[in-house]
Assembly symmetry: C2
């Protein structure tokens, strides 16, 4: 599981008992519908997210973490907190690295 979006989707689902596609998209800042669709399929394929279809009119679909997915949530949340706390330092380092090579 290799990308930022997978991490952000799992953190969002980890804080819920299940989310619809549009609620998930509203929660994960900046994700496009296409990338969210691919990310959910990637997470479902790796057994981390489950997709539930409710036979209602109109039909309702919700996504939630599987048991396996829930075991991954704590380390991902720690990583998310690290990223939030250190984003400025990482961006500053990147700016310094790039300007030294211009």
């Amino acid at each position: 599981m290799d990308n930022k979006w997978s991490t952000m989707v799992m953190i969002a689902l980890g804080r819920s008992d299940g989310l619809r596609f549009r609620d998930l998209r509203a929660t994960v800042e900046g994700i496009s519908a296409k990338v969210l669709t691919e990310t959910l399929r990637h997470l479902e394929r790796h057994g981390l997210v489950a997709r539930h279809e409710y036979a209602e009119m109109p039909p309702r679909v919700e996504y939630e973490l599987t048991e396996l997915g829930r075991t991954l949530h704590p380390p991902l949340q720690t990583l998310g907190i690290w990223a939030a706390e250190h984003a400025a330092q990482v961006l500053a380092a990147r700016e310094a690295y790039d300007s030294a090579r211009r």
Copy 2:
């Protein structure tokens, strides 16, 4: 920081006081010289790894985690342990997902 190799390189460096390129490559199973070069540059650019050149004959270059990099090591190690402990479940889920769609 978006990929498996960055995580594995940081975990390897986190267990050392600095490694040469060839030692790092021997430690991170399956990584090619090209990908290791790109990964080290990516980590250096983001302020997580430092590159040290020693003016010896022949010249010696070592890589080590920066202070910022060391703060990221614990959550990455937890993720690495999760991956090792759950790899079989993830692969089984993927196999089941794929065969259901063949």
